[in-house]
Symmetry: C3
Subunit: 136 residues, 3 copies
């Protein structure tokens, strides 16, 4: 059964969902399989990044904001606000879906890997990701 | 059984394949599971983007063309034409594979999400994507 | 059962693992299914690229190094060396996970497609990727 993770975001940034995802896996009895996360939006995305030092996440966010600035004269799709078209571009450059193997009942995440929903818009949004868990 | 989606492209741009993919899912009896799309080329790619307003797709295409221009003095791989190396870079920055959960017999795509094959070359090409459908 | 691919890297670059992955598939009896590769690190990544002409891989590497240079004044996460923050950004722009359908006992890779672990750091590292193989 597909399950859902709901995240209320309050502006741009990385929102960690590792624990929420881990809890879903723990409630499930799959020992060997595959967990796939899919975010149902085109102005936020997913990423797996270092979760130990917040400065890495802050730099990542600021670097991408500089690469894809608002108010670029190139944009014609401006009717949804100055942060909308940059959000679509950022989503295209990062991930809409992530698949993580499950081994011995746990996600095979490395020591420093966290799973994040990456909000690219300024206003608060209610974001939804689908989680599929498949047994081998 | 792996199925195939064939797309004939006529120059750079986003070619929507949402309906083709949806039809494959409908023909299949899987109610809960996972659909994975994989494009068998290194000079085109896949993306999930807003499919309501064509201006978003046009901006995305123009933005990526500006980030990865042709005739960059850095390129040494030029034997296949000026659009070939930019195409490989664009493919590396976007997606070769996408996995979308199936819930109640349908892909869990959000309201504004469309699935696109993204052609990065100028000449016409016959492109092929493999579709794997797995039941939970 | 999740399997593992270990790669010892010696500096930045693309390390091809196509044959290692193909051998894992061959040892397995799955005829139709899905192979998912997941790299357990945040300073290296995965990509599918042309494996025929090494100049394409070299250009890809140099292009990304120019886009994400070391010693950028923007970085505050510098405690792990000048190549660490660029490595995290490069990982976010490329792939941590790849899913490739299996058809008739083989990965559906196109003629020119190779699977690579992409090392973004200078020092030697022992890198690990998990491989999940699921039968349809």
């Amino acid at each position: 059964m597909t399950q859902w993770i709901d995240v209320t975001t309050h502006g741009q940034g990385l929102y960690e969902i590792t624990r929420t995802l881990t809890n879903l896996i723990n409630e499930n009895s799959v020992q060997e399989g595959l967990c796939t996360l899919f975010v149902c939006h085109t102005s936020c995305s997913l990423t797996i990044q270092e979760n130990a030092d917040p400065s890495a996440q802050a730099d990542l966010e600021r670097w991408l904001n500089r690469l894809v600035p608002e108010n670029d004269a190139l944009y014609t799709h401006t009717c949804e606000g100055p942060d909308d078209m940059p959000a679509h571009i950022k989503a295209a450059l990062t991930a809409t879906t992530l698949s993580i193997p499950i081994h011995q009942g746990r996600l095979v995440l490395g020591t420093w890997q966290g799973v994040f929903l990456w909000e690219h818009r300024h206003a608060s949004h209610r974001r939804r990701a689908a989680v599929s868990i498949i047994s081998e």
